[in-house]
């Protein structure tokens, strides 16, 4: 990246946060009150384009992380590196498609303002590594979700469970981060308080990611809140990002990864397997998606604790592939529900001839989530299984069992929703144009990155190698310096 690119990079970063924020304010103030979808879609499209600009500018660089603004506890106010460049467009895309597919009755101005505010906070979080800003944005992403769940008819129980979980997580996160900042273990000081802080942050990550035994809120959120709220709250995986920023890549971690994260990873492996197994016996489509999301999210955390770039790379690929696939399935489920009510899985629902196009999208997203060759999840599974087995035999075996169970649960879900006797007098629904566009936008990256994964994997290889302070093979081959340069050093590269 040349110095000439810096203003463009900063402007793009500002647009990513400002566009949805401005949209939220505008909708809250009453602009386009009758149909706020257009405004919201425009705002999130601007955020998506800006995030793609960041990715493009970063891809022209030598992989160096760039940091701007105040630095504290090893983090910077604005931090743009390989992780940001890869994950930010994903977050913006998820927010955009949620707004495109949402049924009109779910888009009352208050709900739209909350979605946009949440999008701005989440995008902002993915642009920082400053510990206190992370805590503030962590809270900012929780609040709109909780208000949305509480305002959902029949969502009081889910709101209560969510509030209990998030209050505990946020408290742990805030106290832990402050302790980490006051007595950073990586600075060579006593580090005792910092160690306690690290463990508190780990507990916060566990709760927010729904790791056993703090997993109950995950499926409950999916069954009690609107799909937009559930997807926006879980798919970006805010807690995984926090773990990456606070628990990976500091000098005191001999292999680049904090002890807390290694322990977290063991719990995450259990969660990934347990969630996938539970998904097989779920009684409703929403709880199926919830348990699968819990399992896949845990799989990401399990991979993040890897000390090999391959495993970390696999974790990021699972992050993207499972996120896109589950968002797609969630949106298809929402579209089906908006037409004919809740979908149960105890019996065959026979919905194929009611909505064949939605069935096709559900199937494609489902297969894209369980390792269909030619999709990103195939690459992700290959990397994470190989990486896990390289590192620990039991981890690899649990990952394999989890992928097997996820596959069975996913196919059971599809066959139970779309298979079964057809009601000849039942309704027939065709897919709407905006739904088709949104679902295609979501599906395209899964297939494009699956068939041509080289650029993504290379980008992640560079990013993860820097995180682990291991010189990337590709960087070495290309003659790039292993040390971080650029406008200002990224803390992860030291």
């Amino acid at each position: 990246m040349t110095p000439a690119d810096m203003p463009a990079l900063l402007s793009a970063a500002a647009v990513v946060v400002a566009a949805p924020l401005a949209g939220a304010v505008a909708v809250a103030l009453g602009f386009r009150r009758g149909n706020p979808r257009g405004l919201a879609v425009a705002a999130t499209t601007a955020a998506l384009l800006a995030s793609l600009t960041i990715t493009f500018l970063w891809s022209r660089s030598d992989g160096t992380g760039v940091a701007f603004g105040e630095r504290l506890g090893g983090g910077s106010f604005v931090c743009i590196d390989g992780i940001t460049a890869v994950l930010l467009p994903y977050v913006a895309l998820v927010e955009l498609v949620i707004l495109l597919v949402a049924p009109r009755r779910s888009l009352e101005p208050g709900a739209v303002a909350r979605i946009l505010f949440g999008a701005a906070a989440t995008c902002g979080l993915f642009l920082t590594s400053h510990p206190l800003v992370l805590v503030a944005l962590w809270c900012a992403t929780v609040l709109p979700t909780w208000i949305s769940v509480r305002s959902t008819p029949g969502g009081a129980g889910a709101a209560r469970v969510f509030a209990i979980a998030m209050a505990a997580a946020t408290a742990c996160m805030a106290v832990g981060t402050v302790l980490l900042v006051l007595d950073p273990p990586w600075s060579g000081a006593s580090g005792l308080a910092g160690d306690a802080g690290g463990w508190l942050v780990a507990v916060a990550v566990m709760i927010r990611k729904g790791i056993v035994p703090f997993h109950s809120w995950y499926p409950k959120l999916f069954s009690g809140a609107t799909m937009s709220t559930s997807l926006a709250a879980t798919m970006p995986q805010v807690a995984s990002y926090t773990a990456v920023r606070l628990l990976i890549g500091h000098a005191d971690h001999p292999e680049g990864v904090a002890t807390e994260l290694v322990v977290l990873a063991q719990m995450a492996l259990v969660t990934a397997t347990y969630g996938a197994a539970l998904a097989i016996v779920q009684r409703s489509l929403r709880s199926l998606i919830g348990t699968l999301a819990m399992s896949q999210s845990a799989m990401v955390l399990a991979g993040l604790a890897g000390t090999l770039p391959m495993e970390l790379n696999g974790a990021f690929c699972v992050w993207l592939s499972s996120g896109l696939a589950l968002t797609g399935i969630g949106l298809v489920a929402w579209a089906l529900e908006s037409r004919a009510g809740e979908i149960r899985l105890e019996t065959l629902q026979g919905r194929f001839w009611d909505a064949p196009a939605l069935a096709a999208f559900f199937l494609l997203f489902g297969l894209s989530g369980i390792g269909l060759p030619g999709t990103l999840s195939f690459v992700a599974d290959d990397l994470i299984v190989s990486g896990s087995l390289d590192e620990q035999l039991h981890a690899g075996l649990l990952v394999i069992v989890s992928t097997v169970l996820c596959g069975v649960a996913m196919m059971r879900g599809w066959f139970h929703v779309f298979g079964g006797p057809v009601d000849p007098d039942g309704p027939r629904h065709s897919i709407l144009v905006r739904e088709r566009v949104a679902l295609t936008m979501l599906l395209a990256p899964l297939f494009v990155l699956g068939l041509w994964p080289g650029p993504l994997v290379r980008a992640l290889d560079r990013a993860t190698s820097r995180l682990l302070a291991v010189p990337a093979a590709s960087a070495a081959a290309a003659g790039h310096p292993a040390e971080v340069g650029g406008l200002q050093e990224s803390p992860q590269g030291r």
Binding site: G374, V385, V404, M411, A473
Partner: protein, 449 residues
Amino acid sequence: MTNHDAISLLVVCQLAAPAATLALVGLPTLLGRPPSEKITARIVGGGFATGFVAGLITLAALAVRGFRPEIVHLGSWFSVGHHEATVDLVADALSVPYVCFSTGLCALVNAFAGKYLHREPGFTRFFLLLAVFGTGMNLMVLAGSIDVLFAGWELLGISSTMLIGFFLERGNAVRAALRAFATYRVCDVGLLTAAVVVHRAVGSGDFERLFGENWPNGTCLVPATTATIVSLLLVFAAMGKSAQVPFSGWLPQAMEGPTPSSAIFYGALSIHAGAYVLLRCESLLEQAPAARWLLIVIGLGTALHANVVGRVQTDLKSLLAYASMTQAGLIFAEIGCGWRVIPLVHVVSHAILRSLQILRSPSALHDRHELEAALGGHPGADRWALGRLLPERLQERLYRIALDRGYEEMVVGRLFVVPFLALLRWAADLERRWLAVLAGEPHDGGGRP
């Protein structure tokens, strides 16, 4: 253009032709503009025909040079650290004839299905899945690395599942599809783990680093322990796809799918996918006597089981399913004996005969009447059946065992599936109770999760 370039181009063509039809039919369908029946059948059939012709030309080119193998390096799919997934294809005495055979058969079934499924709801879906199957099959057969082989293997499993459940309105079809998928998925663990072991052993998934490139006279290039582990994992994977005991219960149920897909999957190609993989890795098996003995035991056990159970089936497609299983078992045993050409000939001849029988099965009554008319009466019972030589009590016992399908399903169900599902339901119910407490809601009664 050099000889290598020409063969490379032809090999790519064999793979790309069915894959391209997938895009040509799939994309317009996804965008809401599916092509007509005629165009759909022609596009997919054209893809298979192109692959078949390309295969024949490659075969001729290979024959001219004495079947010296040609490795086609299409480059690195992705690589991280020491882990590299390469896209390597191989044109040799095993892969090219097998591609000709499989694409030719697919083209014939394509032509049959164009008429057979005329005006059937799901016509386009069938042909799309057939194209997925053809692509997966060619990918698996031409694979020069275990990564590519695994990709093809997975496509085979998914297309098979979706075609078993093709008639979605039938509950039995859906249950059969789920059962087949679960079996495939469990056994795929073998291939996935084998791929990882191969990567760790030789640094990549390339077959040439594993056993050279000279089929059927390759040399095992890894230690005997590694060869044994990989071989055992491959045998486990092959058992699922080829319906070997104790993973055979899904096959008779799989006949719920449309007749053309039953013919090509369970009479011809999919059922022999396991045998193909074992033949491809024959050099490893040579160094793994334990795996070979296991193959013989499993193969003969399956053949005996399927032969006995098949005798009491009352519908033709189930009978044919058990007949396929018997032959697949025998082929496994032949591979276990260390033979190479005999199992290959057995695969091809069995596939052709069985797919013809399954395709004709909807007309079985008509055929029977024609036979009786030609003979001027009933053909009569088989007086020389070996079973009749057994003591009567043993015959009765075997009859009971056959009626219960060899107790295979009962044993697998009671020992593994039922306890596993019961445990999961118990856990899910506990979860719901705990959530009800957290949410301050009354529990919904604790029924089945």
